[in-house]
Amino acid sequence: MDITGRKLFVKALREEGVDTIFGYPGGMVTDIFDELYKQEDIQVVLPRHEQGLIFEAEGYAKASGKVGVCLVTSGPGATNIITGLADAHYDSIPLVCITGQVPLGLIGNDAFQEVDIVGMTSSVTKYGVTVRDRNDLGRILKMAFHIAKTGKPGPVLIDIPKDIQVQAGDSEYPSEVHIRGYKPNESVHIGQLKKAYRLLKSAKRPLILAGGGIHIGGAHEQLQKFAERTQIPVVTTVMGKGALPANHPLYLGNSGMHGRYSCNIAVSKCDVLFSIGTRFNDRITGDLNEFAPKAKIIHIDVDTAAISRNVVVDVPIVADAKLALEKLCEWAEKQDTEKWICQIREWDKENPLEMRRDRGMTPQMIMEAINQSYKEAIIVTDVGQHQMWATQYLDIGGRKKLITSGGLGSMGFGLPAAIGAKIAKPYQHVVCITGDGGFQMNMQEMATAITQEAPVTICLLNNYYLGMVRQMQQLFYGKRYAATCLRRRKGCPATCKGPNDACPPYEPDFVKFAQCYGAHGIRVTEQSQIADALAQAKRNEDAPTLIEFMIATDELVLPMVKGGNPMSEMILK
């Protein structure tokens, strides 16, 4: 029997095990919403802006391990999700995004709310297509879920014209789909792997560089086992943070632009760099000519195109991180790395990762208090200085997960992603660490947190500035704070050199902001108040709690490597 497109869509959701979708209605998706209205077992999360919606779906996907499903209307609904598509594309987050489209006959007529969303997003999606024949709908939806979650996961966009949604057609939702141009790698080249292991075994100063691929591949156990058996120390990228638990004796810290001094020196001095699940982004390598200059490089990645793109590697291996590490564990033998690890620990003592403790509350104190308050938690960050402090000072790994926008670095990610994570894991603590800039980019989502009864804890580090850019202005632009002061008003002098007595007050009042939504608001100005505030937030299970931490305006993220400089040239003070 034939069924309508909208009925088939719901059938597809059910077959794929989708019980939560993130949807914002509009003219070209009302039919689908009408169908969803009748379903008791599919929850529709209504955000307050489509950008918030897709970040929520990302947080949900990251926390649950499932595909995040978005449903938005044509035109502005569709264009509003583009930032999230790019974000998910960079960070390999599986999403299926459905956009409504004007009826087939109107496409190309500049109809009301018509945009070529598939064309606009082709460079930031793993796959995208407009459904042009009702009988293709089932196959295309199946393809979407299959492509989103296999291989290197990513966002898929399916554009469904309104008439396809209501047209009767094939009721079949295929149980599998064959795509001739899409064959994700599912095996490991044993010869290459052996070559890699031989190289690693011959090393005097071996180092493992673990990226986000460890999380995506679920290879934590295998990585830990491999590191323990070989005794090779591990550094991580920002996305790889937590690949090995923070307190593990072989874990050294993050490398990269704001990495630990000892880790960046270790990368520059190692003789074999075993990198896995990282694409050697410029934030990790700095000046490419000076990156790991003494090292032979082994690179394992599931994405062929990630290999030998930025860094020319000696042993390339296209494979899933878990599969490859499992195999490597079979051969792994203890190596004599004791001296090498001691050496790295010495470097760490020379320049430890530490902020001053002589005056006032520092971000490090806040992160340490969060470490102590939570035995298990999902920690979600926004983008900026607070994000770097979080990746520097938080203990991630084991039962503490980190969700952050790494590749695209989208401000406004934090709050909605935290809400999405809380929806996925209602019984886990979800802590959103954010800044006053990023928070304001999607703070309308506070309403979503309230309506979804998602009591997240928001730690907002307020320094009155767009701090990451201000830091660059402070260090490299002669303290010319162009457009980074959030207190700045029309009447301020054009060439302000920083805070002074004449500065206007800061708006908004974030505590009152939280309260006006029926959430809790706490302001913390001193170190002694941090633990109490966090404890109180934990007890507030009825509504979100926003804790505003008043930190110094001129706090820096250190160490720092200036963009394009070698990683060994760190600014330390």
């Binding site: 062929t304 195109a305 030998s308």
Partner: protein, 165 residues
Amino acid sequence: MKNRWIALYVENQVGVLAKVSGLFSGKSYNLQSLTVGTTEDATVSRMTICVMSDDITFEQIKKQLNRMVEVIKVIDLTNVPIHMKEILFAKVKDLKSSQIDEVFRIAEVFSVEVTDIGKDSVMLECKLTERRNNELIELLKAKFRNIEIVRGGAVAIEAISTSCR
């Protein structure tokens, strides 16, 4: 940096050409020519693509093409015996009657067809290699004041015998 050739099998669907060409512009790859048409299988199109690049970029281009869902197969034609031809029409205009003979002589030497003629214009239809077409254009430009050229970009196919180009 040199010219390299790729044959690309893609799904014959709306938007695939835009996606492939978008990859080249989006990633700043230097696309020299791109032709596309359906194959013996109506659901499959075949593109012949010429890019100017260094070795590393070329490797990356092939990988990027390969990971597109709509791309079925990428064949590197750079070091493979192939047959390659490009269609080109050349209108040579404002000719004095004495010059018309000269156009015919050139056509003969280049083994191209004269497909149309008027009182002061001659049209040539050329199916030559891209390089040979370039040479022809240079010659026509040097000899005649008013020419009009349209060319289709090269199409290429792997040779049956092993020594063609």
